[in-house]
Amino acid sequence: MGLERRVRVLVAKPGLDGHDRGAKVMVRALRDAGMEVIYTGIRQTPEQIVEAAVQEDVDVVGLSILSGAHMTLFPKITRLLKERGMDDVLVIGGGIIPEEDIPAMKEAGIAEVFGPGTPIETIVKYIEENARMEKEL
């Protein structure tokens, strides 16, 4: 029996989009749910986000985007994560993402997309059930 390691989450805002109400609410909500959360702040390039994920050794990357650039930026982030050997990290997304884009997102390695109005509880539960946990001590 060992100490259970808390889930580490990177909440990130890729691209030039400055709408971070949702991202900030998620940061607080995940912290309240007992997770360790790092927030990148707005206007991050895919490279910066992946670097932060590696440095912070996170289990989950939560991407929030409302600018419509998800089709370009999300796949780039998952590709870079893979290149850095972080392909077991759970990557999820949220924001204004049309339903018809979701299959392409999933194909690119985004595990789940949470649209507007999703209850926080749903996201917390999803992370708890799906985040990589092999690092338990």
């Binding site: 030039l16 927030y39 702040g41 707005i42 419509g68 370009t72 507007p116 109005g117 509880e121």
Partner: protein
């Protein structure tokens, strides 16, 4: 407003009513909630009576529309004289596509234009910059050079339309392009009508399209204010914006307080430059959100007018009544739109637009019902415009000025909002003003707290959001969304390369060098901006030139 004897008898009567009528009702039918509040959490009483406005002095506190303190309206006849400008925020894909949308909206009876620029344009990157990849034409139209501006307004004479431009850190070059285009169309600048947002302070707090450190940004903002009042006197030189602050989660009071505090900072900066208050203040305008709580919003607008008039007159010593007018644009609150059951949004927008009109707005954008899903489709944007037209021409609410004025509830709420917003402004003053408060994260923290509180109330169902946490249906409504042309980015980049190839490269180098030297000095940069854009120097090149001189703002993140 009431004499003492009358009040005493009302107090007595109220006590009697509570005893004889109210208590019985409450005993049989308890009220639905232990406490009733506005959307922003302000407590609301069961009933308002003359006692709640006991100290109200009609002439001093309300007065007459078009006269100090302008509580009832900035003009004598408000919407009986002229309806508000119906102005839908639009722009996407390429300049060609956006031009088509503008012409369509004008044909449909829209009375002003409002340009949405894409994020690279707003943050000073050309469409072919690597950081712009995937963002070109997504949330607005890309404008990398004067060529794009020419196409955007092709067939739209600039002396016949008023144009609002949501542009902040790159406002100098984009405005210069608009003015250069006016010149090309043969329209003198004193006939050009419109608004440039030019409100950088709220970008550090809520919207995020900053480039330079605050001091340099404030200098550019004042450059525009100064250049316009001297050369384009009909142009609103700034639109001090609460909208984005509210959308980020602020309450109505916080929105009002932070906006007016920012307004104070701009006035102070312009006065420090030596501009006389009555020369530039008449062209300072405002921009607010309108949320779902109709009475709270109307009270906010009324309080805003009274507060600004007092601030400009008493704090800054303005004498010209035009300096004291809080003229404002409203956008219905995007954050209230739901992705679930999207047609419900039409009703939300109607309530919000109604509040804006009852509040006395000068200009209005109504959101489209599909905007929690994508940029608005043509059908959705027309429904939004028709909503305004129905309010204007069918509802009858425009028949009289400030129709809610004099309501015990409305006057009491207006006073309360003013009081609480004033407390915030005093707190901000004590910190050293808006810029200092922002740099220490005061606004950001307040807004984040309010946003989280609101979300928790929705999660716990203390707040009902129809279709989201109550009255949920699984059935999906088919809805056709706008799809931005996937080739738009490529077309735009192609055009930009052509512009670069065809222009006089030597001339561009020269104008950018002049701009750089001017930026290193202290003079107004607008004349250099105009020279640069006329030589087809690009948005990105101009921004890069200034980045070299001013440096870039290092973001501060407060959760």
């Amino acid at each position: 407003m009431f004499d003492k004897r009358e009040l005493t008898s009302i107090v007595k009567e109220k006590e009697r009513w509570e005893r004889e009528t109210l208590e019985k009702t409450l005993a049989r039918f308890p009220e639905r909630l232990p406490e009733f509040t506005t959307v922003s959490g302000m407590p609301i009483e069961r009933l308002y009576t003359p006692m709640d406005v006991e100290d109200l002095d009609y002439v001093r506190d309300l007065g007459f529309p078009g006269e100090f303190p302008f509580t009832r309206g900035v003009y004598a006849t408000v919407h009986r004289g002229r309806l508000w400008t119906m102005r839908q925020y639009a722009g996407f894909g390429t300049a060609e596509e956006s031009n088509q949308r503008y012409k369509y909206l004008l044909e449909q009876g829209q009375t002003g234009l409002s340009v949405a620029f894409d994020l690279p344009t707003q943050i000073g990157y050309d469409s072919d910059h690597s950081i712009a990849s995937g963002e070109v034409g997504r949330v607005g139209v890309p404008v990398s050079s004067l060529r794009d501006m020419e196409i955007l307004f092709d067939g739209i004479p600039l002396d016949k339309v008023s144009t609002s431009m949501t542009i902040n850190s790159t406002a100098p070059q984009v405005l210069a392009m608009y003015f250069a285009l006016a010149e090309k169309q043969g329209v003198p600048l004193n006939k050009v009508d419109g608004t440039v947002q030019n409100d950088i302070l709220k970008e550090y707090v809520a919207r995020g399209t900053y480039i330079y450190p605050p001091e340099a940004s404030m200098r550019l903002a004042v450059d525009i204010i100064e250049y316009c009042y001297k050369n384009a006197p009909r142009f609103n030189t700034i639109s001090v914006s609460g909208y984005h602050i509210r959308e980020a989660g602020a309450t109505a009071v916080q929105e009002l307080a932070f906006t007016l505090a920012n307004g104070i900072a701009y006035v102070e900066a312009a006065m420090e430059r030596g501009l006389p208050i009555d020369d530039f203040a008449p062209r300072v305008s405002f921009f607010f959100a309108c949320h779902n709580d109709l009475f709270e919003e109307v009270a906010k607008f009324r309080a805003a007018r009274r507060m600004w008039a007092k601030i400009v007159r008493e704090r800054f010593g303005a004498r010209d009544p035009r300096s004291m007018l809080l003229r404002y644009h409203v956008q219905t609150a995007g954050c209230t739109l739901t992705a679930q059951q999207p047609y419900n949004n039409i009703v939300r927008v109607t309530i919000q637009a109604l509040a804006a009109v009852l509040g006395g707005a000068q200009s209005l954008h109504t959101n489209s019902f599909d905007e929690a899903l994508a940029l608005p489709s043509e059908t959705a944007v027309i429904t939004a415009l028709r909503t305004q037209q129905i309010i204007a021409h069918e509802s009858g609410v425009t028949n009289t000025v400030d129709p809610l004025g004099g309501s015990f509830f409305m006057e009491s709420l207006t006073n309360k909002i003013e009081e609480e917003a004033m407390e915030y402004i005093q707190k901000i003053d004590a910190m050293g003003g808006a810029m200092a408060a922002i740099q220490r994260g005061f606004y950001q923290k307040q807004i984040a707290d309010s946003a989280y509180k609101y979300q928790k109330e929705v999660e716990s169902k203390e707040k009902t959001v129809v279709g989201v946490n109550e009255f949920i249906t699984e059935a999906k409504v088919p809805i056709k969304l706008l799809k931005v042309d996937p080739e738009a980015e490529e077309k735009q980049v192609e055009r930009l390369r052509r512009v670069r190839a065809e222009r006089d490269g030597k001339k561009v180098k020269e104008v950018l060098k002049k701009l750089r030297r001017a930026a290193e000095g202290r003079g107004n940069l607008m004349p250099f901006m105009l020279e640069a854009v006329k030589a087809y120097a690009t948005t990105g090149e101009i921004s890069d030139t200034l980045r070299e001189v001013f440096g870039e703002y290092k973001a501060m993140t407060i959760v």
